[in-house]
Every structure is written in structure tokens, then in C-alpha cells.
Amino acid sequence: MTATYTPNEIMTVVAARALKNSDVLFVGIGAPSAASNLARLTHAPNITLIYESGTIETKPSVLPLSIGDGELCDTALTTVAVPEMFRYWLQGGRITVGFLGGAQIDKYANLNTTVVGSYDAPKVRLPGGGGAPEISNSCAEIFIIMPQGRGFVKKLDFITSLGHGEGDDHRQRLGVKTKGPTRLITDLCIFEPDPATKEMTVTSIHPGVTCDQIQENTGWTVRYANTVAETAPPTAKELEVLRDLHARTKRAHGEAA
């Protein structure tokens, strides 16, 4: 008997499982924050979480709504100023995994969080890159969490942060020494870059998901690895911890000051 879970829950659980106890993470708000803290509360109790507001080794009891909630500072080992965070800690190469997401992604895992339409006369003005343009190149590797659908496009309107560029050795040709996106975790499956072309390729499919479903929610022709695994469903324990975390968070953010 398997527990029932939502597509968002399996996406978060799978992302959490990809994290190791020894990782030093640069965490963004939303799904990355949920996955990072789920990992910390389950198999990776000593994982190091860093948020760009300057909080290092933070252990929040509830998920922050913003990147700089007081909870992050209260539970951090130390908090540094923002220029130091970007210079010494991110640019300095001390981060093992950076988490990104976006409004749009292409098959080489380049991301757009800037505009839909043209830059000068956008149809939709999105928030912009924030830390992403440098996170994507300064962390040893990048995990991307994004639900599949309209955002999986053939061509991005704008490249906010570099993934594998135009594929192959494009990152190296640009002088980037880090790996870039090594996993794209969605609500349907897991993509990993093809070793040669760097095209994001399906390596694991979540239980009950069909290839048709994956293709319908992807704007390019989906490629599959030679061996494709079935993702293990979330365990009862993983779901319990994740749901508790969300319930605590909801109570904390709903309350009046």
C-alpha cells in the first residue's frame, strides 16, 4: 500500500533525496527551501544551508516567506553582509549545490525569470534574475526544481541564467569551470544532462506518469536515457515531515504580528 501524495510533494521529496549531508547549499525561496529543509529534517541533518541574505548554516523551524526572514538569522551560525555573501561565499567557490527555478526553461536548462515577450516591451514583466546569473556559474553544480507545463519551452524569451547554453561544451567555451545543471527535478520525472550533448534527458519517471504526459508538458521533443528508472514514491516518513513543515509554516505566516 503506497501513500497518496501530490505532484508537488513528490517533486520536493525527490529534490530532497538528491542532497547529501556534506552539501553546502545556496537556497532559494519556495520549493528549493522546502526540499533543503526536508533533507535537513530527514537524511541530512548536518547539511549546510546558506541563503543569499547572508545567513550561514541556518536551521529554520518554519520555511521563510522571504529570503531574509528573521527566522533565518535567528537560527544561523553567523550572518554576513550581502556583498560578502556574494563575493567570498558564492563567487569564492564555497557552494556545492545551487538551487534554481524559473518561469521558463529550455532543453539545455537555461532559465528565464526576466520577461515574457521582448525585453523593451514585455508582455509579462517577471521579477528578474536576483542572484541567479552568478549562482548558475559559481556553484559546483545546479539542481533545478520546476513543475512541468507551459514553462518548458523550445526557445526562451530571455536567458536570465546560463544552463548548458547551446549544449556540448558551451559552458567551457565561455570560460565557466563549474558543472551547471546536473538535475532537473519536475513533478513528473527527473532529467539529467546527456554526457555529450548536455541536452536534459529523462533518467527517472515518477510512479504512474506516462511518456505521453511528459511530452505533453514539454515544448521540445523529449529524449530518454538508455536506462530509465522508476522514481521510488515518497515514504510515509518523508510525507509526514514535509507536511508538518508546511503546516508549521502556514501557521507562522498566517498569524498577525
Binding site: 547572508g54 531574509g68 550581502v82 563567487q91 526576466t114 514585455p122 514583466r125 517577471l126 556559474n137
Partner: protein
């Protein structure tokens, strides 16, 4: 030495029409009360610099105070869009808004370079990113020692920095704690400055030997505005009002609900409005 003044006197003295203004505070210590006073005093044609425009610049943009925005992430954190910013960029309401867009690393480096008296900031950035194609101020420079190509942008040298601190002592020194953002750099990079504070104390008392303190002689004016960072927060005094950030999404979505809110809560109020959000510091309460 810093001059103590009321908030309205302080804004009157430091912010002029057409100024380049940086109201900083990275999620923490955002100087909302000061921003509201700028709205009440109807300042116009400002160039607003801030890493994360947040609700404070959504309000100033929606009230027509700004001609230009220099920024790196323009969303409502954890909630979604800044609707007034979007309306200005997408539809030109209430006026056309020029944008100069950077990354966080670029903005942080530009403030630091400004504080250091340098003409530009140099960092490893924007590789493979389209922002460099649409922002002519993003250029590159070759390291004369290694040959590595690095990103360069002009340093930030605002006319005015406005920040919210925790405490000022009677001599006008200002103490910041918690998430420090780029506030120290913004003040040191600017020609003029105004700091609003939660509390004025005789003496800071026992403190960490490396505490973040801006000496009085680096600050222009100080105004005592308890609660002045609400709905942002002041570490040890009051928490971020996350529920208000969620509510703002509804308030700011439409032009008329936004204008009604600003009229009732900003235009018809004054600087004493914020005291109700203030809480005594944990240390003081113990």
C-alpha cells in the same frame, strides 16, 4: 556629525526632486516610514536604487515619484509580482518608468565599490546571461594578471541613502544587527543620508566588539521612528509581517484599490503612525 530631526524635517532636508535615492534594507530593516514621507512630500523624478524594490518602491512607483528604477529582483518575496512595478513597466502607469537591471551580485558589488570610492565594480558575473545585452552599463574588463574576462559595472554613488537602524546613541552613532544587507555600503557610498531608528539610547552598552556601527560623522540625519520598518522587521523588536506582504498582492493588484490604500494609510497619516507597530527590544524587555 549626524543631526537629529523629525522624519518630515529629515526628508525635507535630504531628498530633492530628481535625486538618485537608495532606500536599502535586504528584507530586514526596510525604511518604510521614510518612503511614505517621501510620498507625502510629493518628491518627483527620482531615480530609485534598491536590490529588491519590495513593497516600498512598489508604493513610490505607483504614486508617481520615480522616473527610473535600478534593481536586481523585483518581486513580492514568496508571494508573486509587484503589481505597481509591473503596471509601470508594462503599461506606463502612472508614468513611464525607465529600468536599469542588474543581478544581486552586481548591485552588492556596485554599492561596495561606491563605499570604497572606486569608479566601478569588478566581479565574475553575467557569463552567458542576456542582461549584458540589454543593459549598456554592463561591460567587461580583462584582468591584467591572468587574462580572465570579468564583468564591470559603474559603482553606485547615490545622492541620498535612506536606511532604518536599530539604535542611535545620543552622539548619533547608529547600530545595526541581524541581516545587514548593503545598508552600511549604501550610506558610505552616498553624498547625503538619513537614518531612521527604532530607539535612541544614552549608550549602546555591552556589545560585540565587531558590531556593525556607522559612526556619527558618516551620517547626515537621524530621525527617531519606532516601528518605521513595518511591515518589514527590526531584529529583536518586531517580526516581519508576512501576512501583510501576502495581503499587499490584493491591495496593489488594481490601481484604485492601491490608490485608496495609499490615501488612507499614507497620505492622510503622519510619522507618528508607525509607533503602533513598534515593540520593545528583547534585551530591553528582559
Amino acid at each position: 556629525m549626524a543631526t537629529f530631526a523629525s522624519l518630515s524635517e529629515g526628508i525635507e532636508a535630504v531628498v530633492r526632486d530628481g535625486d538618485t535615492v537608495a532606500m536599502e534594507g535586504f528584507t530586514h530593516l526596510i525604511p518604510f516610514a521614510a518612503g511614505h514621507e517621501v510620498v507625502r512630500q510629493k518628491r518627483k523624478h527620482l531615480t530609485l536604487i534598491r536590490m529588491t524594490p519590495d513593497l516600498i518602491y512598489d508604493q513610490l512607483i505607483g504614486m508617481g515619484c520615480a522616473d527610473k528604477l535600478v534593481f536586481s529582483w523585483g518581486g513580492n518575496p514568496g508571494v508573486g509580482s509587484l503589481h505597481r512595478l509591473r503596471d509601470a513597466v508594462e503599461k506606463g502607469w502612472p508614468n513611464k518608468l525607465e529600468i536599469e537591471e542588474h543581478s544581486h551580485a552586481a548591485m552588492a558589488n556596485a554599492y561596495e565599490a561606491g563605499a570604497a570610492g572606486l569608479p566601478c565594480a569588478i566581479f565574475r558575473g553575467y557569463i552567458g546571461a542576456d542582461l549584458a545585452k540589454v543593459n549598456p552599463k554592463i561591460k567587461s574588463i580583462v584582468c591584467p594578471f591572468t587574462g580572465e574576462t570579468l564583468a564591470a559595472i559603474p559603482s553606485h554613488r547615490p545622492d541620498v541613502a535612506i536606511i532604518h537602524g536599530l539604535k542611535a546613541d545620543r552622539a548619533g552613532n547608529v547600530l545595526l544587527e541581524g541581516i545587514l544587507g548593503v545598508q552600511k555600503e549604501a550610506v558610505l557610498a552616498s553624498k547625503r543620508s538619513l537614518v531612521t531608528v527604532e530607539e535612541i539610547v544614552d549608550d549602546f552598552g555591552p556589545r560585540n566588539l565587531n558590531a556593525c556601527i556607522l559612526p556619527s560623522w558618516t551620517i547626515g540625519m537621524i530621525a527617531h521612528v519606532p516601528g518605521g520598518a513595518f511591515p518589514s522587521y527590526a531584529q529583536g523588536y518586531y517580526k516581519r509581517h508576512n501576512a501583510f506582504y501576502i495581503e499587499w498582492d490584493k491591495i496593489a493588484r488594481e490601481r484604485d484599490t492601491f490608490q485608496a490604500w495609499m490615501k488612507a494609510n499614507v497620505l492622510k497619516k503622519n510619522e507618528s503612525e508607525y509607533a503602533k507597530y513598534a515593540r520593545p527590544s528583547r534585551v530591553a524587555a528582559e
